[in-house]
């Protein structure tokens, strides 16, 4: 948090304290259930210790599988992704079992003892590596977001007022990943200096494969991960090993990784031609739009929530594939005026960053919006600017500012702008 942001948020905090001490503020969370402390249940001995910790029975939190834009609550057989409940999360790290999930032919059940990584193509010494080989190598750990290229795809053409922020923005998560720097593996096999692209391929049934450009940025930041939030990867997220390319579209972070092949041209796989390319209004399409853009969304209050007049804390998440978030601004009057939000917790490059701002709602209908700026001075576009650039057929890489409308009853709903 910069000194400037401190200054910006301090007056509003003073205003808030004055407001609360005047006894006007309504608790946004609603009245407490226990009217007096005598109603709080008495203490009693608890459950036995166990091998691992389960959530409280009072916490209902889960991903939502869906089949495509607007195709929710489908048979799990038909689902192609499963969205993170970002409306119910706090901080910036996504719980491992709630990290969003996307796969192209299901989650394979891989035995790490039998899994192999083949490295070949334009190399001096093609190698076969085991998972234990990788775990024995020098390692790196990094907190980064992974975002599905399709995050936000609900919003290109319309705004369904029944959507939650989990529906609109649930295809992003931030975890700590641990593994071997790609650069180390490249030196190990002696990749030819003329190699400029690398095919990364998974061991799922579809053998999902993407061409990775060997830029300096990717060479210095990509790694092959075997650890996720301190434990082995979960199967849904690539067990036993996956590729992590911080800031780049989710599909490049190949799960169940089994092969790197080095070459001097992209392979033009189905995923980088027919699938993850962005159709523009003129019928041409952007290809290799690999970096995830500067983005943010207010997670509370957000779609289908209800607020009361008085104090409301606005909070949300911001992220950018270009680096650190430098600023998040919030408008509570349909973008007429913007105020700096406070960035709370860690502000890490290419990781989700939590923001918050005090807000006193006067009870009149309004719209709230957030916009982020990253350290490279990229500004999250408003919807009109994004549509002017991309049209409405792009399907992927939607990063427009998200607007939540609030009616006179305090009901929050998804609107286009």
């Amino acid at each position: 948090m910069s000194a400037k942001q401190n200054e910006a948020s301090a007056p509003s905090r003073r205003r808030f304290l004055k407001f609360v001490s005047a006894g006007v503020g309504a608790a946004a969370g609603g009245p407490a259930l226990a009217d007096t402390l005598a109603d709080v249940p008495p203490r009693e001995p608890g459950a036995d210790l166990s091998g691992h910790s389960e959530r409280s029975q009072y916490v209902k939190i889960a991903r939502i599988p869906e089949a495509g834009p607007g195709m929710r609550h489908v048979d799990p057989d038909d689902a192609i992704n499963s969205k993170t409940p970002i409306d119910q999360l706090v901080g910036s790290i996504t719980p491992t079992d709630l990290h969003y999930e996307r796969s192209h032919s299901g989650v394979p059940n891989l035995d790490p003892a039998k899994h192999r990584l083949l490295m070949h193509g334009m190399v001096n010494k093609p190698l076969v590596l085991t998972v234990n080989d990788l775990k024995a190598m020098p390692s790196t750990s990094r907190v980064v977001f992974i975002e599905c290229t399709g995050n936000g795809w609900e919003s290109w053409k319309k705004a369904d007022p029944n959507l939650t922020v989990q529906n609109t923005h649930g295809l992003i998560s931030t975890n700590e990943w641990t593994g071997v720097p790609l650069r180390f593996l490249i030196d190990l096999v002696g990749v030819d200096r003329k190699a400029t692209w690398m095919l990364a391929e998974g061991d799922d049934a579809a053998a999902v494969a993407r061409s990775i450009p060997l830029t300096d940025e990717i060479l210095s930041e990509a790694f092959v991960a075997y650890g996720q939030n301190g434990e082995p990867l979960r199967p849904a997220h690539g067990f036993p090993i996956r590729l992590i390319i911080p800031g780049f579209e989710g599909n490049l972070n190949i799960k169940w990784l089994r092969r790197f092949k080095f070459g001097d041209h992209p392979w033009m796989t189905r995923w980088e031609t027919a699938r993850y390319t962005q159709l523009l209004a003129d019928g041409k399409a952007r290809q290799f739009q690999l970096r995830m853009e500067t983005n943010s969304v207010i997670t509370s209050p957000s779609g289908t929530m209800k607020i009361r007049p008085g104090y409301n804390r606005i909070t949300g998440l911001a992220w950018s594939g270009y680096g650190k978030i430098s600023k998040v601004e919030i408008s509570t009057d349909a973008t007429r005026m913007w105020q700096s939000a406070q960035l709370t917790g860690l502000v890490l490059p290419k990781a989700q960053t939590r923001f918050q701002m005090d807000w006193l709602w006067d009870g009149k209908p309004t719209k709230i919006v957030s916009r982020s700026v990253d350290e490279k001075a990229n500004v999250q576009p408003d919807r009109a600017s994004l549509v002017a650039q991309m049209g409405t057929n792009a399907l992927f890489h939607y990063n427009a500012q998200q607007t939540w409308s609030i009616d006179e009853n305090g009901s929050v709903s998804n609107v286009l702008a």
């Binding site: 579809a206 830029t215 089994r258 796989t269 399409a285």
Partner: protein
């Protein structure tokens, strides 16, 4: 067997590595990949045809292969199925309702061989023979009017097929010419 020799070599190498971080050499980790085993996994096909196997197929036999393996999901003739539409849609890309199919959107015919060979049919990927794969590729291209209904394909002719949307994808400037400081 070689394994014990390799083990002792890597043990020696490990000691060297431990004293000089990040100076590991090949074979300090893992083992050399033999050419015969690389062939088992080296399934990718390039736009120039590199990686295409020997063999050939025809659109006529591809129709049978398609009906037996593909039509249940993609629909008869590659349309009106529960999964991706494969045919038609040409000249819709600039409309409000673009229809992306192999014929309207896919820029390279080689991608079709690569994808079917690696990922299809969904329940048993890799189960089609190379000849059957060439056949079903020829059939799907014929459904789109890109090849005649009696077309034949092999590794020489497939890369020469010009797809209608060959020039429709515009690579981002940042990733057109890759350079690095290695």
């Amino acid at each position: 067997m070689e394994v014990s020799a390799m083990f002792s070599r890597s043990t020696v190498a490990f000691v060297i590595f431990a004293s000089a971080a990040f100076s590991a050499r090949a074979y300090d980790f893992g083992r050399p990949a033999a050419p015969e085993e690389i062939k088992l996994w080296d399934i990718d096909v390039h736009p120039d045809g590199k990686g295409l196997p020997p063999g050939s197929g025809s659109a006529v036999s591809g129709k049978t292969v398609f009906e037996e393996n593909c039509a249940a999901c993609h629909g008869p003739g590659g349309q009106n199925g529960i999964k991706d539409r494969l045919a038609g849609g040409q000249r819709t890309l600039a409309s409000d309702h673009p229809i992306k199919t192999v014929g309207s959107y896919w820029p390279y015919a080689t991608t079709l061989f690569d994808y079917i060979h690696r990922a299809m049919p969904y329940q048993a990927p890799g189960s089609l023979s190379d000849d059957d794969t060439y056949s079903v590729v020829a059939y799907i291209l014929s459904l789109n009017g890109i090849l005649p209904t009696d077309a034949k394909l092999d590794k020489e002719t497939l890369p020469k097929v010009k797809m209608p949307n060959r020039d429709g994808l515009i690579p981002e400037p940042e990733f057109r010419n890759i350079t690095n400081s290695r």
